[in-house]
Symmetry: C2
Subunit: 189 residues, 2 copies
């Protein structure tokens, strides 16, 4: 998606440790017009799937998922990383290892927001090691729902997540795949 790639080149910052900082438009400050274009592109790529619901993870997945849900006219559910005070007792839960923070989180979705009759599109902002995406796919599987695939805003193509997730049989549509940024300059596949 050219508009996204241009924005990454213009506003992304490459930091030591293969970190791409895009918090000026994606995950701290958000550009809603770009998110709308991203949501429309996800809707276009999955238009032939009878999607009933979108599943994402707080907080950075919410923006792209919400606009994809708007264009597909389906509800968006976000998995929670912390236990809510008024949370349903019945939840699907999956462990997710965070490499950035080097710790394990449990992500949760109330059982009533995923059902066996659902055909789910999973959306997330980044795909690096694939932990979050596989955790979300695990929740879909626990619900007995089917998985249409995953829509990713930025995939780090030089890390193993894309291969892990695709090998497990999941269709992955990434709007920008970074081939290399080891010299501080982003190059796309």
């Amino acid at each position: 998606m050219q508009m996204l790639k241009d924005r990454i080149i213009r506003d992304g910052q490459v930091l030591p440790g293969n970190i791409l900082k895009v918090d000026s438009f994606l995950n701290h400050q958000i550009d809603p017009v770009l998110m709308d274009a991203i949501g429309e592109e996800f809707a276009r790529r999955f238009m032939n799937e009878p999607i009933t619901r979108i599943l994402t993870i707080e907080s950075s997945g919410i923006a792209p998922a919400l606009f994809a849900g708007y264009h597909l006219r389906v509800p968006v559910v976000f998995a929670k990383k912390t236990e809510s005070a008024n949370q349903d007792p019945d939840t699907f839960a999956a462990p997710v290892h965070s490499y950035t923070r080097n710790r394990d989180n449990v992500i949760r979705v109330a059982c009533r927001y995923l059902s066996a009759s659902d055909h789910i599109l999973v959306i997330d902002d980044f795909l690096a090691h694939g932990e979050a995406l596989l955790g979300l796919a695990d929740l879909v599987s626990q619900a007995g729902a089917s998985l249409a695939g995953a829509g990713i805003v930025i995939e780090k193509g030089f890390q193993d997540g894309g291969k892990r997730v695709r090998t497990s049989g999941i269709r992955v549509e990434s709007l920008a795949i970074i081939q290399d940024m080891s010299d501080g300059h982003v190059r796309f596949q």
Copy 2:
């Protein structure tokens, strides 16, 4: 806003302790079409203000803030409740007491996403005791920015937050104000 009130009556659950559970359309599962209408209504109410940026708080404020930002064509910044791994060292920070969880959180925004030339609209999903809203207003004040006002999806009119915030001189626009729900039925002002 009638569409929102109808939805609260239809899908909201009143739980003991004056809790209104709206996680089927607002803060766990999200209805993007309703959020778009909410964002449009906030944009309409603040159309005479030269807003440059929207400030909200993760995670439940993001959806209504994002669509307000879309309709106003301004960026949306969300304050973080946890320290990110790759966070800017320079942040504005404010303490916020959570009554639901009975603990103090610190909310943070990177300094470069709020500036003295900004005219900020603050958006949040709920106004009850006013803690989150006053914390967000504190961040705006630290940045030397001006505050256009606050857009709230649901205000608990029987709690003291609305009065506290309005008394401090902040314009508050709430799309649904609940007068009473002590008998398990929601009545609006």
